[in-house]
């Protein structure tokens, strides 16, 4: 007791030199490509800043309000006006991907060794190079000590593997959280997967807009580049659109009720809202805008100037509306949601006996304006029930799933990289005269300080395992 040497801890060691050196010498060639990575990240970041400062995809008129014509021309030629799709930007992304592949490939050759050659057995020289080592003499036979050690390691670290087993010498090896070694590859792979997903989307997908009036149907969409794409064998009908507001005037809900019809058969009817799109046959419909297309029904007050009586009449666009008890009739000819800043207006064709047909505008918000007209009847608008159109964004993007898969791989990669650390412990027992020499060594991939503490604890427990055994013997009990 007390004569065993204290464990050797190298203070201030620079990372587990041996293994990292290996990584580095193989990285030697690709150091330049790592520089490339850093350069690319900087260039992409700076370019993106330009992309947020210069408005993207605006109309020439808008640009000319900010820039001189020559500046506009230069920006356009350099692709700064649709920068994220410009050839050079895509090229930079491609270069980053390539760089990623090359870098990962080179590193992978080294990492593979941790899996193909797990490093269970170590040469003396390798042992000496490990950052954490301890050595002490233990009384008793190696074969007696071994199970105690296995128990301690299982309890405090993980189940060890018996790597060498000769009568006088044993080598135990235990390792934990090995996936930490491949985390970085997962992250790099995930970037490629995400970019692949984006590529799939840009080649096989489309994005366009369609406005559908209530009661109408659409079976195709016009893309941003003017191309027309038909929905595969189905059409979409807008049953109803509704909009509601909060008391503050802020919009509360936009809702379109859509019916999908395939070969004359109604397949489904579902509402879509912002944040609740509808997907059918890989095509997704989003609520994106709305507007007033016309009048579903207008309620007009018809005042008889002779009797002073006023009656409310419901009228539809384009159809003749008779005024009861007379041979007069009128017809709603046109509707404008906003006529010259005066608000909603209806153009009315009015027919009275013995009078030429009159055509005039009636304003919802300015009832007095229609009154100047001669004639028996005076019209004012009580209510206009608008017929809405709904603006739908129509998107097909078969790459989305791939992008999400990439994101999941990235998360897994982060977990492995930042929250795991490949830690290995070797324990060698060599029987000598007067006892067993125990040598223990450890190395960790990351978090050296944390591992140092863990290692100290295990080292301590192994010593105490011996003590417990000795005390057991002193008490006279046979194990």
């Amino acid at each position: 007791m007390g004569q065993s040497p204290t464990p050797v801890f190298l203070p201030g060691y620079p990372l587990s030199k041996k293994e990292e050196k290996g990584v580095f010498s193989s990285l030697g060639d690709s150091l330049s490509s790592l520089k490339l990575t850093i350069a690319l990240l900087i260039i992409l970041a700076v370019a993106s800043i330009f992309g947020t400062v210069i408005p993207q995809n605006a109309s020439p008129e808008e640009y000319l309000r900010f820039y001189k014509f020559s500046t506009y021309k230069i920006l356009k030629i350099l692709g700064f006006l649709d920068m994220y799709h410009a050839g050079w930007f895509v090229f930079l992304l491609a270069l980053l991907s390539l760089n990623l592949v090359v870098c990962s490939w080179r590193r992978l050759r080294v990492t593979r060794k941790f899996f193909s050659l797990p490093g269970e057995r170590l040469e003396d020289e390798q042992w000496q190079a490990l950052p954490l080592r301890g050595k002490f003499l233990q009384q008793g036979l190696a074969a007696d000590i071994l199970p105690r050690f296995q128990e301690v390691l299982s309890r405090l670290f993980t189940r060890p593997k018996l790597v060498e087993d000769s009568k006088q010498a044993y080598l135990l090896f235990a390792e934990k959280e090995k996936p930490s070694r491949i985390g970085v590859y997962c992250i790099h792979l995930s970037v490629l997967v995400i970019l692949a997903g984006a590529l799939i989307g840009s080649f096989l997908g489309f994005r366009g807009n369609v406005n559908i009036e209530e009661g109408q149907a659409a079976d195709q969409v016009i893309l941003r580049n003017g191309q027309q794409v038909r929905f595969p064998g189905f059409s979409v009908q807008l049953e109803k659109f509704s909009v509601s507001f909060y008391s503050t005037g802020a919009p509360k809900e936009f809702k379109s009720i859509l019916t999908i019809t395939e070969k004359g058969r109604k397949i489904l009817t579902e509402p879509i809202l912002v944040n609740h799109p509808l997907t059918y046959k890989g095509i997704t419909f989003y609520q994106s805008s709305y507007g007033v297309a016309g009048v579903a029904e207008a309620i007009l007050a018809v005042k008889d100037r002779q009797s002073g009586k006023e009656v409310a009449v419901a009228a539809q666009m384009g159809s003749r509306t008779e005024i009861q008890g007379s041979s007069s009739f009128f017809l709603l000819d046109r509707f404008l949601p906003d006529l010259q800043g005066m608000g909603p207006a209806l153009q009315v064709i009015f027919s009275e006996p013995n009078r030429p047909q009159q055509k005039f505008w009636v304003f919802q918000n300015h009832p007095g304006l229609a009154d100047r007209r001669a004639g028996r009847y005076r019209l004012t608008i009580k209510k206009i029930e608008p017929r809405y159109y709904s603006g739908l964004q129509v998107t097909k993007d078969p790459g989305v799933g791939v992008v999400w898969a990439g994101c999941l791989i990235m998360m897994a990669g982060f977990y492995m990289t930042f929250f795991m650390s490949h830690r290995r412990i070797w324990v060698r027992l060599t029987e000598k005269e007067g006892g067993t020499l125990v040598a223990i060594a450890g190395s960790s991939h990351r978090d050296r300080t944390g591992f140092e503490e863990e290692f100290k604890k295990i080292d301590q427990a192994l010593r105490e395992a011996r003590r417990a055994q000795e005390e057991n013997k002193e008490r006279g009990g046979q194990p």
Partner: protein, 281 residues
């Protein structure tokens, strides 16, 4: 509203905490340190209660949404995240040495919420684009990541101060001598980023998933999206420089400060300088 008044008092409490932590550093008094920690926990508790109360108030107003929906609420939440992360770190590391650099961040952001004229403290109903459960996941992960980056920036500033002193060859005196050793500060800069970076990534991904539901596109190169990506690039740069190129110390500390500047611009700059889809906060 009661919650708004509570937030105002919380602002002053954070100021008091900041002053206490500075005094702890200046006078090297363990007792002051304990008081600072105690007051900080109490402040955080009131802060939490105020956030919950604001949630209740939004129900009372007939809206019922989590207080994460506009600039004011996000600032308040950001400050909460910073205070929480710092106090958890303090508990774990049993050191309150970075308190005097972390607490000012918690104070500044909530003070900005209470005092800036452009930031309305009204509870508004959710516009359709915000009516989504992604809101919670997105905002919480983003601000937790911003908070870890804020801590990282605080530690980097400490590193740079201490390093400057060392470079000048002067003997460390006074409060600088109380800073943890440069190595520990450097390790902490890395650790906070190792927490913040995955969180930022989750924040961007949940934002993308949400955008895919709301706008029909997971990525539109909107200024907010682009700036979050720029921020992501800066921290990716940090990690590559540190893990693969073995950059340490001054250079990585500077990168961490630049990264946080990008965070701040993503958060404020985009809203005030650039127009885009993401105009709520």
């Amino acid at each position: 509203m009661i919650s708004t008044k509570m937030f105002s008092s919380v602002t002053f409490l954070y100021l008091a905490c900041t002053v206490l932590y500075f005094n702890f550093l200046a006078f090297r008094s363990e007792r002051l340190g304990k008081i600072a920690t105690g007051l900080s926990w109490i402040t955080l508790l009131i802060h939490t209660a105020a956030i919950l109360w604001r949630w209740v108030e939004s129900y009372q107003l007939g809206m019922g949404h989590a207080p994460l929906s506009n600039m004011y609420e996000s600032l308040v939440f950001f400050s909460w995240c910073i205070a929480l992360l710092y106090l958890l770190w303090e508990r774990k590391m049993k050191s309150r040495i970075i308190g005097s650099f972390a607490m000012p961040f918690a104070f500044l952001f909530i003070a900005y919420a209470s005092l800036a004229p452009g930031v309305s403290d009204r509870i508004d109903p959710l516009i359709p684009a915000l009516q989504s459960n992604w809101l919670h996941a997105h905002v919480i992960t983003c601000f937790l990541s911003y908070a870890s980056f804020a801590l990282s920036c605080a530690v980097s500033v400490m590193y740079l101060i201490k390093n400057k002193k060392k470079e000048q060859g002067g003997k460390e005196t006074g409060w600088i001598s109380l800073f943890p050793p440069l190595d520990s500060l450097d390790a902490l800069v890395y650790k906070t980023i190792a927490v913040g970076f995955p969180l930022l990534t989750i924040g961007i991904v949940t934002g993308a998933a949400w955008a895919n539901y709301a706008w029909g596109s997971y990525w539109s190169w909107d200024p907010k999206e682009t700036w979050s990506l720029i921020t992501w690039f800066v921290y990716a740069l940090f990690l590559h420089a540190r893990l693969a190129r073995e950059w340490r110390g001054k250079r990585t500390a500077l990168l961490s400060v630049i990264g946080f500047a990008a965070v701040v611009f993503t958060y404020f700059g985009v809203n005030y300088v650039l127009a885009g889809l993401h105009s709520y906060a």
